[in-house]
Symmetry: C2
Subunit: 383 residues, 2 copies
């Protein structure tokens, strides 16, 4: 019997049961998109997919794995019980036992019910920390290019919104485009439509004006105000590559007040300095801390005011890839940036009355610094 | 101490930790859309959300729960450890202990890592069968209307595709629209664009022609063939209501062969008979079985032929709601239909050479029968 220390090592078999459309680790490992849960096993450097009859032929064509097995064939090997189909875990346990596997590494979000069922079948699940594949956070040249491409569509969609605002007219603090009141919904339609033409899916695009923008996740609705900040946060997934882009710009149709102009400039300085601090080996927490301190020093305080959070109360940034939010985070938690990481830098300041301001770009971390992957003019006022 | 039987009862506290955008149970319970994991606790008929500072104010406005608590405030109650932020489970355990809770019901896909962590903290997770809220499968009048509305957009988008095919011309087995070769991508663009205008998101719309359609999940790509079946399977989620629609039509631009005409008619008869069999109290397995038998009796066999599955090798239907695939299934497994269920009926026949044929509609189950929620002409040939 091996010593306890060896026992505790990560098992050399990995198991994921999930819909790859919603599971970045699984899509990354297989390059196979499935809308319903599929079974993935990695055993001694070989990759296996166990698929139902509906998916097996497509899997053989599309998946980058070594073997595609039919669920129905494995089920036949063990036989049905009382004529009822076998469950996922019975088939999985059968396969693992054939290979002599007693312990499997599973992702942190492996379903609890499946974990308990494996244990019952004398196979120990070993929960791995997130992400299941840390390699996923170091982007290849191809992945970097995919993100950059999505970002180019994001930039073009924001500039399409700029054009709409430029063509619009202001009457009594409202904005009119083609003689119709311009709403968040219409401007979102322009942005999402442009994205869709490029096979990018803008699901919760934010176009929030005035006080709506003080809530960073408010998507925005109704007529957009003139002379008040409008936050546009655009983060679609490319249906071609599956990689996200994520950018934010804040503009005013008409004229900004002095208070807003100063708030916007403060965010811009913080964002650009934050980007310059990005470098391989740096602790991302330091970037977040610098921005928080800078805002405080400029007189922009954070805390609950009139019953709602105001100031700067979200992280400075996050990793970006097949997931919209992945490691590393740029926040209050220590996380060392590594060359190959792709992260956003997106500080913001939010105050009732003045409104919300956020600026966001995406950078690729290199050994000596960073490469800016998103390019789009930062404009405060659109006359 | 209570007897063992009582101990085994379902706990009266429920816990979900998930992103409600991807978790139908959580969205159903809270009506609050969040892109990142949030904490939901139901304790003695009261609903609680524990949200970070970024989401708390929006949660108070939008969520249909009794209490929205700030994660940061609960974290402050237990204090940081070595200055590091507390994890989700530490805060959850703190809250549950304050309420005197020792056992919590969790969904089957509750993350294994969280389940083990709860156990360590002396709180027993009790895995519930899927769906966590069986009430979710009995649609209210409002939910039925939401699905019907999404379906009306689906129907209009398919009819937009019919128009494109009608306007197109056939030359040498290719289809030309405005003098350009008509591809799957173009026709998907027409369908998805129409859906997007109505705030419905068509994510993996299928427009697959000829042999591509023999693989039921192939999305289709490249030039569409004339005189061969084109499967259009359209299943968007409404971004307004969050409810899905799902319909399939199979058409030919030009002329169908006799073999295809017979295959199409056989599927149509099977689908229409299947719909007529839907009624509250009926075992859905019987409907699937009837269709399989009918196909066999008509000479349409199912099995592996020339190395690929051919015939009818997927379920006859599935429940539809906030999830695209939910219970009850119409398949080889016994499942009793209940009044209020919303299900698809979508048999298909797939043979290399002839191509694939699938017809799909959505019905609402009533005590005495069914109500058809999807309406769209079934046409085989478009001249």
């Amino acid at each position: 019997m091996p010593p306890a220390k060896l026992q505790a090592k990560t098992p050399d078999t990995r198991l994921i049961i999930a819909a790859s459309e919603q599971d970045a680790n699984l899509y990354w490992a297989t390059q196979f998109l499935a809308p319903d849960p599929i079974i993935y096993i990695q055993h001694r450097r070989k990759k296996y997919l166990i698929l139902n009859d509906l998916e097996a032929d497509r899997g053989r064509k599309e998946a980058s794995v070594d073997h595609v097995l039919r669920f129905s064939e494995l089920e036949r090997e063990i036989g049905r019980r009382n004529g009822r189909p076998r469950g996922y875990l019975e088939v999985v346990a059968h396969f693992l036992k054939k290979k002599g596997v007693k312990r499997v590494a599973v992702p942190y979000d492996f379903p609890l019910a499946y974990g308990l069922s494996l244990k019952q079948k004398k196979i120990q699940p070993h929960v791995m920390p997130d992400p299941f594949y840390p390699e996923r956070l170091i982007k290849t040249r191809k992945e970097k290019a995919a993100i950059k491409k999505t970002l180019s569509h994001v930039s073009a969609s924001i500039q399409a919104a700029y054009r709409v605002l430029r063509e619009s007219k202001v009457k009594k603090n409202r904005i009119y485009w083609h003689n119709k009141v311009l709403t968040s919904e219409i401007l979102k339609g322009v942005i999402n439509g442009h994205l869709m033409e490029n096979n990018c899916l803008g699901k919760h695009t934010i176009v929030a004006g005035g006080n709506q923008g003080v809530d960073p996740h408010c998507e925005g609705s109704g007529p957009l105000p003139a002379n008040k900040p409008i936050i546009m946060d655009v983060f679609p997934k490319s249906m071609d590559s599956q990689y996200y882009g994520d950018m934010t710009r804040t503009v005013v149709k008409g004229q900004a007040t002095d208070a807003l102009r100063r708030q916007w400039q403060t965010v811009k300085v913080a964002q650009e300095h934050g980007i310059k601090m990005v470098r391989g080996g740096v602790d991302a927490k330091g970037i977040h801390q610098w921005i928080m301190n800078y805002f405080e020093a400029q007189g922009y305080h954070t805390g609950i005011k009139n019953g709602r959070m105001q100031g700067f109360f979200h992280g400075t940034g996050h990793g970006l890839g097949i997931d919209i939010h992945e490691a590393p985070r740029v926040s209050t938690v220590s996380q060392k940036l590594k060359p190959g990481n792709v992260i956003t830098i997106e500080p913001g300041l939010y105050y009732s009355g003045v409104g919300g301001v956020r600026l966001e770009d995406v950078v690729y971390v290199t050994k000596g610094g960073r490469e800016l992957l998103s390019r789009c003019p930062k404009i405060l006022e659109i006359p």
